[in-house]
């Protein structure tokens, strides 16, 4: 635990800000979906904010991030501008992928944010390849790969973890175990329900973390990164968390009870955080209100930016069908 930073007021407000930005952003996305500004599949991150925020706090700008179709939170925590993100969801040319990707395909090369992948587990081998390059280039960077517990059933998870471990590559695997893959509870899809345990098949060291506790997550990520930087090979962190909203906007949630959802919500990352740090005197209700207001304003501005932005001209449809630059 040598890498833990002290928990002071500054860091408490910083983490709260990051989590609240995501929460408010996601809620607004749902609204924008209902209004028809956002279309396609929309997967929200409510309830899981602590994971992206905690992990990103531990990274440096050189590290690479690979995420899934449920990646708005990761993009925001990584520093992708909210305007570009919202514009992307609106399908506007000012979006971070020129509006071509939408919610499931957020890319920002300048921030080493490599998506946004809508094939479950499809990003894991890519993250391994980024790490391979970093190692060969003797860069001191790590590749961080987020995926759901459902992805652990895919063959690509298995192949990629073995490869990363065999070659001792600098990858931090972060499994966001939110208990469900769409409507399938973990116990209905995995004979062994501990993803951390599966890591032993690849001699990847692993840890199970309370995915609602942002500082625990940050500390675990810092420790893991220290080991990875020391050349000990990849590591897997399993974050126990919960998705508060539906899987996507088409989901009647027949597979879980309201009570279950409410029970988890009581232990949500924002509620527990606020309670704890108010008690410890590191933040006040006023702080919360102010930060939430600021987040709201930022989201307002992002919506306005997205609304006012132009669509990519149709005559650019075929652009980037091939790369425009030579390697």
């Amino acid at each position: 635990m040598s890498d833990e930073l002290p928990v002071d007021r500054e860091r408490v407000l910083q983490h709260l800000t990051q989590m609240l930005r995501i929460r408010v952003f996601e809620d607004r996305c749902a609204e924008m979906y209902t209004k028809g500004h956002i279309r396609g599949f929309l997967h929200l991150y409510n309830g899981e904010e602590a994971v992206a925020v905690g992990v990103m706090q531990a990274l440096s700008a050189d590290d690479a991030v690979v995420a899934t179709y449920r990646e708005h939170g990761h993009a925001l925590a990584r520093g992708v501008p909210m305007n570009a993100l919202m514009a992307e969801l609106f399908g506007k040319v000012t979006g971070c992928s020129r509006g071509r990707g939408g919610s499931m395909h957020i890319f920002d090369k300048s921030r080493n944010f490599f998506g946004g992948n809508a094939i479950v587990a499809g990003g894991i081998p890519i993250a391994v390849g980024l790490a391979l390059a970093f190692k060969m280039q003797k860069r001191n960077a790590v590749s961080v790969c987020f995926f759901g517990e459902g992805a652990a059933a895919e063959g690509e998870f298995h192949e990629a973890l073995n490869l990363a471990s065999l070659w001792k590559l600098p990858v931090l695997f972060v499994c966001e175990n939110n208990q469900y893959a769409m409507g399938t509870a973990l116990a209905r899809s995995e004979a062994e329900t501990s993803i951390a345990t599966k890591a032993t098949s690849y001699r990847v060291s692993s840890q199970t973390i309370d995915g609602m506790d942002v500082f625990a997550i940050e500390n675990a990520a810092r420790d893991a990164l220290t080991n990875i930087h020391a050349g000990k090979g990849p590591m897997l962190l399993e974050m126990l968390t919960y998705r508060f909203r539906a899987h996507s906007m088409f989901d009647a949630q027949l597979y879980r009870s309201k009570t279950e959802v409410e029970e988890w919500q009581k232990h949500g990352p924002l509620i527990t955080f606020t309670k704890r740090f108010k008690e410890r005197g590191l933040m006040t209700e006023d702080d919360y209100q102010r930060i939430e207001r600021e987040a709201s304003k930022e989201v307002d501005a992002a919506v306005q930016f997205a609304e006012e932005s132009a669509f990519e001209p149709v005559n650019e449809l075929m652009r980037f069908a091939q790369a425009e630059t030579q390697p």
Binding site: G150, V314, L317
Partner: protein, 324 residues
């Protein structure tokens, strides 16, 4: 009844009438199906026959092959065509080869249902139309129901077949409402259907593009051009006779395909027309297909990428102008 309900009814009938039939796929049970096709079947038939699987496309498709070899009649659902690429080894290297390479010992009566196509802004990893691509593979059959009748009939017909059958259901059609006609029980998977008779040009298509072609034919009729519209229904094997008969009558063919153009099913149809009807043609065959890019997310670009009614109409008009 919707297209979705028609498929569900067909599955229900198969489950009721044949104890060997079972369903397997991601979220087909508790969730009700990612496109709600299988909704309610879990309650009706139980977990043994409506099997939610883990996210393991290759394993459960392969398991479908194994179960078929042992006498069951599995219906595997793969949510969308893009994900089926994860199971392609099982489909192409095993399902499609076992019967021939075992000298006839091991037919694989497996049915795979897949969502296909764009129109819902699902972007580059959920929108592609691979049915024409699959139609390249010997040893499998490829179906693409466009109508309520075919949606109702095809699952049952596929289950009557000893070869692996892939049914591509266009996700833009699931909500389509319509009446089941009394002739659906006579449907087969051998023949294409002439959905509209005409004499000036043959619009050859399948799946959701059928409705764009019918709309184009209406528009063309107003301009005095009488278009025949062919719904291929089955992409492998193709029904040459219906295609050729139409082209021999109209002397002009426009193929409309939501797949990409190069090397798509549109190419095969054009090639066959060229081989068998060259001297019947009054103009080169025209193909209206999806632009050769991953389908983008925003509505205006998705629409621009896909074949549209205006483009079909313009192609025909252009062609009529050029007539020999």
């Amino acid at each position: 009844m919707t297209y979705r309900e028609a498929i569900r009814d067909a599955l229900r009938e198969a489950l009721k009438s044949d104890a060997r039939v079972f369903l397997m796929g991601e979220d087909i049970g508790m969730y009700g199906g990612s496109f709600a096709v299988t909704k309610g079947l879990l309650a009706e038939f139980g977990e043994e026959r409506i099997r939610d699987t883990p996210l393991s496309e290759s394993a459960f498709t392969g398991a479908g092959i194994g179960a078929a070899l042992a006498g069951m009649r599995p219906v595997v659902e793969i949510m969308t065509g893009n994900f089926s690429l994860l199971a392609l080894d099982q489909i192409v290297n095993n399902a499609a080869t076992l019967c021939h390479m075992s000298g006839g010992q091991l037919p694989v009566p497996l049915v795979i249902r897949l969502g296909t196509g764009a129109s819902r802004q699902l972007a580059a990893q959920h929108s592609h139309s691979f049915e024409g691509w699959y139609a390249h593979i010997p040893g499998i059959r490829v179906l693409a129901p466009a109508t309520i009748d075919d949606a109702r009939a095809m699952p049952g017909l596929a289950l009557k077949c000893s070869d692996p059958v892939l049914i591509f259901e266009h996700i833009g059609l699931y909500n389509m409402e319509g009446e089941l006609t009394s002739s659906w029980p006579q449907a087969d998977i051998e023949h294409a259907a002439v959905r509209r008779e005409g004499s000036d040009v043959s619009l050859i298509t399948y799946g959701a593009s059928l409705f764009k072609c019918l709309e184009a034919a209406d528009a063309l009729a107003k301009a005095g051009v009488n278009a025949e519209v062919i719904d291929l229904r089955t992409l492998r094997p193709l029904d040459n006779e219906t295609i050729f008969a139409s082209v021999r009558k109209t002397h002009r063919a426009v193929i409309v395909d939501e797949g990409w153009r190069s090397g798509g099913i549109s190419a095969e149809i054009a090639a066959r027309i060229g081989e068998s009807c060259l001297y019947d043609l009054d103009a080169p065959v025209v193909r209206v297909c999806t632009r050769e890019i991953p389908v983008p997310y925003p509505r205006h670009l998705e629409e621009a990428a896909l074949p549209q009614v205006a483009e079909i109409v313009a192609s025909v008009q252009d062609m009529m102008g050029k007539a020999a």
